[in-house]
């Protein structure tokens, strides 16, 4: 009899969970009880950004006593992937920090027929929206939905070490510089173990700006890939030649090694973003910034890709109103200003463009000038998929297996084929 009871209990235990509905219906916010929000950020560990972010979260909790915010750090390059995996398991955080190109990867993803991110259009009033740079706000839209509130923007610019320029007797970069001037200066500055320039020549993100300057573009107005233009090929050749032909860029320079070179005064110039400025300052490099040069042939300026980072609310959040409130707070003028001054994070709040503390700051205003010359990255699935074929194209040209025109033609075909596969 006892055995039968045990068997019955085992059967019940095994079957019961399967019979219980896993219905996780979302509720309206219960303002009477304590609310817990989980936020995933992607600021570097122990960085100024992280410290500033954490202090702002404390301020938010202090002004909203019923709300507890739990924060977790995730690596920035994997933020979209980690969020997707968590969401597929029903464990997504309420708020996550994502970039506009990451939104392009997530936008189409569905779990149980539902998107992963909340369309914030219904949560923001027109007055809320009007506070943000329209380009930034538009970059957070995917297929019409507003998937994030823009909190920062960034792009590449030209940084240089004036001490190495002085030592070589070369004039500092200026806004009238052409790429030819830049190359001549790099050649003059390259001597011994010092290289004139540091940038990862095979990295597509660095190439985008030059591609635009040479007259190429990633997509046409219909979103069809246009990688195989003459301008694109010229830009690729020009970049790769910096290392392969002119030797002004150290062999095999990658994003990490270029930083090391500049920090150790082994590179006179670097094409880099504002995110590393504080690191160079901490390394006692008297770093200066100048806008990227003009391409002589086209008379177009190198226009780096502008990407935006912002706060997105999970579709699975049970407290969307509070989540949106926190996302708006983290993107507010006050918080953006603090980030800008403390960490050189470029703001997206239109009021801050005219704020004296911002406009009179040489670094921030310099990067804002560069941003105005940049090209906003389209927030599309195609943009998220453009990197893979370009990596292969760069590898082939670098290895001498193909010409840039051949490689970009194949990259264009591969991307179009991938996009057709999605349909």
């Amino acid at each position: 009899m006892a055995r039968q009871i045990i068997c019955f209990c085992i059967v019940v235990v095994l079957f019961l969970p399967g019979c219980i509905s896993s219905d996780q219906s979302s509720m309206v916010d219960d303002s009477d009880s304590s609310i817990e929000l989980v936020v995933w950020h992607s600021f570097a560990a122990e960085s100024k950004e992280q410290a500033t972010f954490e202090s702002r979260i404390e301020v938010f909790m202090a002004s909203n006593p019923g709300v507890e915010v739990k924060i977790s750090a995730i690596p920035y390059p994997e933020a979209d992937q980690q969020f997707m995996i968590a969401a597929q398991g029903g464990e997504a955080p309420d708020i996550v920090r994502l970039s506009s190109d990451q939104l392009g990867k997530i936008g189409d993803i569905r779990v149980g027929g539902q998107p992963l991110l909340e369309d914030l259009r219904t949560h923001l009033t027109p007055i809320d929206r009007a506070k943000f740079d329209p380009r930034a706000l538009n970059a957070m839209r995917y297929d019409g939905d507003l998937l994030g509130i823009p909190a920062s923007q960034d792009c590449l610019s030209l940084l240089y070490n004036p001490l190495l320029f002085d030592a070589a007797g070369v004039d500092y970069p200026n806004e009238n510089w052409t790429l030819d001037d830049m190359l001549l200066a790099s050649l003059s500055l390259t001597s011994g173990d010092v290289n004139g320039l540091a940038l990862p020549v095979k990295n597509a993100y660095w190439w985008f700006g030059f591609q635009s300057g040479f007259g190429g573009s990633l997509f046409d107005q219909n979103g069809t890939p246009t990688l195989d233009s003459n301008g694109s090929a010229d830009a690729m050749d020009w970049l790769l030649d910096l290392e392969l032909e002119h030797g002004v860029v150290e062999t095999g320079t990658q994003t990490e090694s270029m930083k090391t070179q500049f920090l150790s005064s082994k590179a006179a110039m670097i094409v880099d973003g504002p995110w590393n400025w504080a690191t160079y300052e901490a390394g006692r490099i008297p770093v200066q910034q100048s806008i990227l040069p003009i391409v002589s042939d086209t008379e177009e300026r190198v226009a780096p890709l502008v990407t935006y980072k912002g706060w997105s609310v999970s579709k699975q959040s049970l407290n969307k109103e509070w989540s949106t409130k926190l996302a708006l707070f983290l993107s507010s003028s006050e918080v953006q200003k603090e980030f800008a001054i403390e960490t050189y994070t470029m703001p997206t709040h239109v009021d801050l463009y005219a704020d004296p503390d911002i406009s009179e700051n040489v670094v921030i205003s310099g990067f804002l000038n560069q941003l105005m010359e940049g090209t906003p990255a389209p927030t599309t699935r195609a943009m998220a998929m453009v990197y893979d074929p370009l990596v292969t194209a760069f590898e082939n040209v670098y290895a001498g297996e193909m010409t840039s025109s051949e490689a970009l033609l194949l990259a264009d075909q591969a991307l179009e084929s991938d996009l057709e596969g999605l349909e």
């Binding site: 149980g112 027109p126 290895a399």
Partner: protein
């Protein structure tokens, strides 16, 4: 005089509309338009004139003036030529206006996104966003004429009645049900076996089946179920864009696998990678184990400890150190005085990843073989020495045959581990350099390519098909290897 009077009256009537601000005569709200949204319609007593500004104000109490309210949005009356006019659903929120002809058309948007309606509009219908859900609010519209005259409409209360939409994540009941069914089937099977054994008198222990039940259950749920689920997934169109909605598609995924450009290349390199690594692990491991087993060697403990270090250090750290050494600015070029970029060259990168994995795998083989060597009877060697057998012949005819029972399973395990070794290639080259569009990289092996297919492309069904192919390859290899070598049978 009469003519002057008529002209004066006509002039007055003609000019009256210019100075007359359109007053809001009707205002209605609808709380059912969507989550955190309220629909608001207002109409004016006359066609609106250019420069009129409508401001929508919100408050949690009736609005008598705007001092106690918050501005929600603005609608401007002006020239709309050359201004964009997004369709319904295209803009952040929707707003329509009635130009007086009875049709509602979408408003235009100026550069800062403000809604603009054409001159003469007599009604506006906006969906107000960003309002609290389920809380009563009051709305009013203030109109201001170009000459500064303002009129505040009556206040109207409403509430966004629609709650947040219901979100169902993945329906997990089928999976729990499947696991429960498997577990129950295993239990029933054990009961049946127990009964059959009892009936046939094959066991003396009443609890024998109970003892093995936990292990069988754990294997069923943790091993057999995931394998079976993976096999099922390989016949579906599961991908990250619609996980949970997958459907059966037959062998399409397997066709995709076979037709992938580079399928034979990546399979070939996986075989080369596995065979070279295992051969080197066994060869160097045996050599070092014999050296450490020599009676003449002094300081064996120190050597053994030093040789174990690659195994003791977490592999991701040692792999990253190796990568740093091979980079153009790394120690190898410093030492050789060269400017090699081995990791950017397909063959160079292949050689490098194999070398690093050989370095990582030797200690385990060395220790395993060393243990087996120590278990060999010493009198056998003494007899051979007395018989004048030279060292090589002793190794060839005594050591190797006696080690077979250890070497065969070790090499089989080594092959399976190396075949599925992920971290070395992922950390050293990430499969690159990538010279093949839409195919595996030069140093990709099957398992690293499956990772790309699953987590970069998000094609779970195709990745599952690749995994099934790997599984079949390893089962066929293991089975053949066991049969050919008589596996664990000791030499007689």
């Amino acid at each position: 005089m009469k003519r002057v009077f008529v002209i004066t009256i006509l002039s007055f009537l003609f000019l009256l509309p210019i100075g007359h601000a359109s007053e809001i005569i009707g205002i209605e709200a609808d709380g059912d338009v969507g989550y955190r949204q309220v629909g608001l319609i207002w109409t004016t007593d006359s066609p609106t004139e250019e420069g009129t500004l409508f401001e929508i104000w919100v408050s949690n109490a009736s609005i008598v003036d705007t001092a106690n309210a918050t501005k929600h949005s603005e609608v401007r009356v002006g020239n709309v030529s050359g201004i964009i006019q997004p369709d319904i659903g295209e803009w952040y929120d929707d707003c329509l206006f009635d130009s007086g002809e009875g049709d509602w058309t979408p408003v235009h948007r100026d550069l800062d996104g403000t809604a603009v309606v054409s001159v003469g509009a007599i009604g506006v219908n906006c969906t107000l966003t960003g309002l609290p859900s389920g809380i009563e609010i009051y709305l009013a519209v203030k109109s201001t004429t170009p000459n500064g005259e303002s009129f505040l409409s009556s206040s109207i209360s409403s509430s966004s009645t629609m709650s947040d939409e219901e979100i169902i994540v993945i329906e997990t009941s089928p999976y729990v049900f499947a696991i429960g069914s498997i577990a129950l089937s295993v239990l029933i099977l054990l009961f049946v076996l127990r009964w059959m054994d009892y009936r046939d008198g094959r066991t003396t222990s009443r609890f024998a089946h109970l003892y093995i039940a936990p292990a069988i259950l754990a294997l069923s749920v943790l091993t057999f179920y995931p394998v079976l689920y993976g096999i099922w997934l390989s016949f579906t169109n599961a991908d990250q864009s619609h996980l949970g909605d997958q459907s059966f598609i037959g062998i399409d995924n397997f066709i995709t696998v076979i037709s992938t450009s580079g399928f034979f290349r990546v399979t070939g390199f996986t075989l080369i990678w596995s065979v070279v690594n295992v051969a080197a692990h066994i060869g160097f491991g045996l050599l070092l184990a014999m050296a450490l087993n020599s009676d003449d060697l002094k300081g064996k403990t120190a050597y053994r400890t030093a040789l174990l270090l690659p195994w003791a250090i977490p592999s991701y750290i040692s792999v990253l150190v190796w990568r740093g050494l091979y980079e153009p600015a790394g120690a190898l070029n410093d030492f050789l005085g060269t400017n090699l970029n081995l990791l950017a060259d397909a063959n160079g990168a292949r050689i490098v990843v194999i070398l690093v994995n050989i370095w990582l795998g030797i200690p385990f083989m060395m220790m395993s073989i060393s243990g087996a060597l120590q278990a060999l009877p010493k009198d056998m060697y003494e007899a051979a020495e007395v018989d004048g057998i030279n060292k090589f012949s002793r190794f060839r005819y005594l050591t190797l045959p006696n080690l077979k029972s250890a070497l065969v399973p070790l090499s089989l395990l080594g092959f399976i581990w190396t075949f599925n070794m992920f971290n070395v290639i992922y950390l050293m080259t990430d499969g690159g350099p990538n010279l093949d569009f839409d195919g595996p990289g030069s140093t990709d092996i099957l398992i690293t390519y499956v990772y790309d297919v699953a987590f970069r492309d998000g094609a779970y069904g195709v990745a599952a098909a690749w995994s099934v192919v790997i599984f079949v390859m390893l089962v066929v290899f293991s089975w053949t290897y066991m049969k050919k070598t008589n596996a664990t049978e000791a030499v007689t």
